[in-house]
Amino acid sequence: MAEQSAALLKAEGVYKYFGAITALRDVNFHVASGEVLGVVGDNGAGKSTLMKILSGLYAPSEGTLIFDGRPVHFGSPRDARNMGIEMVYQDFALAGNLPIYENIYLGREPGRRLGGLTIIDRRLARKMAAEHLDRLKIHVKSVDQPVEELSGGQRQAVAIARATAFDAKVVIMDEPTAALAIKEVGKVLDLIKSLKHHGVAVIIISHRMDDIFYACDRVMALYQGTNFAESPLAATTRNEVIGWIMGTKGHTDSLAHDKVH
């Protein structure tokens, strides 16, 4: 397949054990620049675990990650971020006590370097944050507002802003629309499309078929920690994808795609 040869980020034969639990078993995965991939699966199927491996939070128990054609090892999310892989976590992972702008630049504060320390240029950080939020058409009262004062949707927006504040090559979103009102869902989906147009590889986990069928180019299903099925969006249907989530396969021809390699 064309997109496979152009894969920007790949995972091969990934296993992940948590003590006695096997969360992922021999999972293969790939995504290309400018592609929007939907990842579906039942609760506990291993979607978040796979994404946390791709974003450097977990190390795979077995298997390899390949970024831009080269095998990579992420010791921490910092390594993944340095390569341009960003993730919006299911629980947002924001520091509620810090203002919006600090959350956006946490770990990468602009300013003057002094040894291992950065003297933060707060005015610049505020300005950059406000401009970035404007670009994303996200409206907040002030970038100085502590995140704990925000609504669920606003927090979601801040988490997305953090993931896109630096030129990311891969943006992973774990259930980006779960906390949102309908109007905000549309904004996030449009944002995903605009990332795609900028050549970003976007991975979204979602339980909502509407999201998947509006924004994605391809969909893959995990079932009990394994690859279950995969298809270009155009070659499948909602009912079929829902079936995959439940662990049933229809008898359609498009299922030939479920072998990744």
């Binding site: 974003s55 939070l57 921490s76 999310p77 910092r78 971020r81 340095n82 993730m87 976590y89 629980d91 992972a93 924001l94 520091a95 509620g96 006590n97 810090l98 600090e102 959350n103 946490l106 770990g107 990468r108 504060e109 300013g111 291992g116 320390l117 950065t118 003297i119 933060i120 707060r122 953090r162």
Partner: protein
Amino acid sequence: MIANQNLSRFLETYGIIAVIIVMMLVLTWTQPQVFPKIENLTNIVKQNASLALLALGMFVVIVTAGIDLSVGSVMALAMVALAIANRDGVPWPLVILIGPLIGVICGAVNGLGLTVLQLPHPFIMTLGTLYVVRGITYLITNGAPVSGLAPEVRYLGQANYDFGLFTPPAGLPASLFLVIVCALGLWFFMTRTSLGRHIYAIGGNPQAARVSGINVDRVLVYVYVICGFFAGLAGLLLAGRTNSGFPNAGIGIELDAIAAVIIGGASFFGGRGTVLGVLSGVVIIGLLRNGLNINNVSAFWQMILIGLVIILAVYLDVLRRKAAVRR
């Protein structure tokens, strides 16, 4: 609703200053001949300078939702070690460095114990070092004070500047300036540098810090090192003021330091608090002790009152937070 929030923020920042002013007015009113005298004020500063340094260090730890119970022991070890070094003829510039250096080493041990041994809570690691360090302090002194220090070593803890304005022994103590410099430095570090903000982020949500690429364990080691450094510096001040290394020094003072931080408005659960608040907490404890002393109230009452003030301070904070949430 907005006004309510602004008021709440204003009170969070400056309410405590109002408390201090009221306390000073009351003390001036009850003891006009004693309290406002420069000798008395100088005394308050000198007596609480070590506590102020300990509280500054404790504050950094508490911002991460941690605790350091060992600071009293570390202060004592720093104090006796530098006194012994001084007695044994080590040149004074080195003697001065010994206090903070011992603090840094003890802090590193605390931080590494927490992160490398992965002990479940800093309470446990620092409870351990509270005993171990105090034991070492007794061991190297045989439990007896080491007295007599070189004037240069005593300088920070003892010097007084009268600026030609005051009649000695009144004046502005060097320890006051040391505390001010430390507080300003810490304020800048905590509010303006990346590491300082990472410390707040860890207190707010360690997971958020981690996924943002912050090496949480490394930052925690720095945090305990900073706290240890201040404890060592406090030992230097106390040695200077008392002209000795006193193995019993600072028993229980970690609780005073924690009290000052909490009265100053820092959250015990991390992520919240200011340097100004911590200093205010120290001043409140200092004024309370001094005020009760000069009004001839027994030391027993001091303990009861400080306990009540802690409870009241945190309760006011609970009320303020409720008011802020109810928009």
